[in-house]
């Protein structure tokens, strides 16, 4: 629904703020909505706020699924199921 994009935190700043980097473009964002963010983490940025941390392992997992696509059969494939 709403435009948001993953970017990497490269600096933590006062006032619950951080600087993220996306291909060389840096922008100060607010961390008010998230907890435990460290430099190096990827966060999902929306209207100047980090909405959430991005989980690198899950991303890896999803990409692996894509890559294996051709060979897949019809089973759960390790997708997270709630």
């Amino acid at each position: 629904m709403c435009l948001a994009i993953p970017a990497q935190v490269v600096e933590l700043r006062d006032g619950d703020n951080a600087v993220v980097d996306l291909a060389g473009v840096r922008k100060e964002i607010s961390l008010s909505l998230v907890e435990g963010v460290a430099v190096g983490d990827y966060v999902i940025v929306h209207v100047g706020f980090a909405l959430n941390k991005l989980d690198p392992e899950e991303a890896e997992q999803t990409l692996k699924l894509f890559a294996e696509m051709g060979q897949l059969t019809a089973d759960g494939d390790g997708l997270t199921l709630h």
């Binding site: 994009i5 996306l22 291909a23 473009v25 922008k27 100060e28 929306h46 100047g48």
Partner: protein
């Protein structure tokens, strides 16, 4: 009675001075502004004539090309340039894309009361450097001052004339099915350099405007003898809008290849952050060229041989289409329309 004093004029205060209404009155304050800023930096034999119009030599043959553009950019100074050099490049390019050799520029300034004279001096110097680098003198000009709140620092309208040699025909009306579309380099650099400067965005970015005079590059292309149909600089509205204009003028359709479009990673990133499409972002030193398919590779090689064309690419092809759609095969493998810019390029949150 007493003897006459040595004529003396207190020089303009470029450090703290500001434009006031007297600078536009037509009187002595304006004459001083012209002498100390415009004539001093832009000076050449034609501007030095000092009449209301400049009298200029003309080549003995060919047709005249005339183009005009108002420049209203904000901020006035941005990474890679400022309104001064921009106003030279923009109009030199509009003349050059017609296949003409740009000869002369006219420059008209609308200054806002309160504008810093020091900023004006920087702008005029930048204009002078750009005009001199392009070899196109500013031969006549005008200065008006409007009250504070009725302008925005400075607006500069430049008008250029040039001459096209006989037999050379370039126009947005000449694209035909089968022709190939090239672009001379990366897209969106100028518009993104400007937008990234907006304070409210809080961007720090390595993006630099591409503002440049293209007539040298164009000469290189023309020298190949290739069958060039259309040249145009994709400024306001970006590549997308410019191609739509050409498609409409020529009554054709186009198909672009998204994979082929050159875009700098930082420009792409800034677009992602703002929800913009680099196809719609302005360029000020890029050229679209449309030529016969047989000449496409020659053209690409020629472009890449010029410093302003190192990132050149073949990006699509012209076809017959009564709807004049510009379409694109996406890098993802689908197909979409690349429409005219609609409204303004507003950052998108959703």
């Amino acid at each position: 009675m007493t003897t006459s004093r040595k004529p003396y004029i207190r020089p303009l205060d470029l450090k703290h001075g500001q434009v006031d209404m007297a600078h536009g009155s037509g009187g002595r304050a304006m004459a001083q502004l012209i002498d100390e800023l415009f004539a001093r930096h832009l000076g050449n034999e034609y501007l030095g004539q000092g009449d209301d119009g400049a009298v200029l030599p003309l080549p003995s043959e060919g047709r005249l090309v005339m183009a005009t553009d108002a420049h209203v950019v904000s901020p006035l100074f941005f990474p890679g340039g400022d309104i001064g050099c921009l106003s030279v490049h923009g109009t030199v390019n509009d003349v050059a894309v017609m296949g003409a050799r740009p000869l002369y520029l006219a420059a008209s300034f609308i200054l806002e009361e309160g504008f810093q004279l020091g900023d004006l001096a920087r702008i005029v110097q930048s204009m002078a450097a750009a005009a001199s680098a392009a070899g196109v003198p500013v031969v006549t000009g005008d200065t008006k001052v409007v009250e504070r709140g009725k302008g925005d620092g400075v607006f500069i309208t430049t008008t250029g004339v040039g001459v096209v040699p006989p037999g050379r025909e370039l126009s947005g009306r000449r694209a035909r099915p089968g022709d190939v579309i090239l672009v001379s380099g990366t897209l969106g650099d100028h518009g993104m350099a400007i937008m990234a400067e907006r304070e409210s965005l809080g961007f720090e970015s390595p993006i630099v405007s591409d503002t440049a005079a293209l007539h040298g590059l164009i000469e290189t292309l023309l020298a190949t003898g290739a069958d060039l149909r259309v040249l145009r600089d994709p400024t306001r509205g970006g590549l997308a809008t410019t191609l739509n204009e050409i498609a409409r003028q020529s009554g054709v359709g186009m198909m672009l290849q998204e994979k082929a479009l050159p875009v700098k990673p930082a420009v792409n990133a800034a677009c992602e952050l703002l929800g913009l499409d680099p196809l719609y972002v302005a360029n000020e030193g890029k050229l679209i060229a449309i030529c016969a398919a047989a000449d496409a590779e020659t053209m690409l090689t020629a472009m890449r041989s010029h410093p302003l064309g190192v990132d050149a690419a073949i990006i699509g092809q012209v076809h017959a289409d009564d709807h004049h759609f510009v379409q694109m095969t996406t890098a993802f493998g689908g197909r979409r329309i690349v429409d005219w810019l609609s409204g303004e390029q507003l950052p998108r949150i959703c």
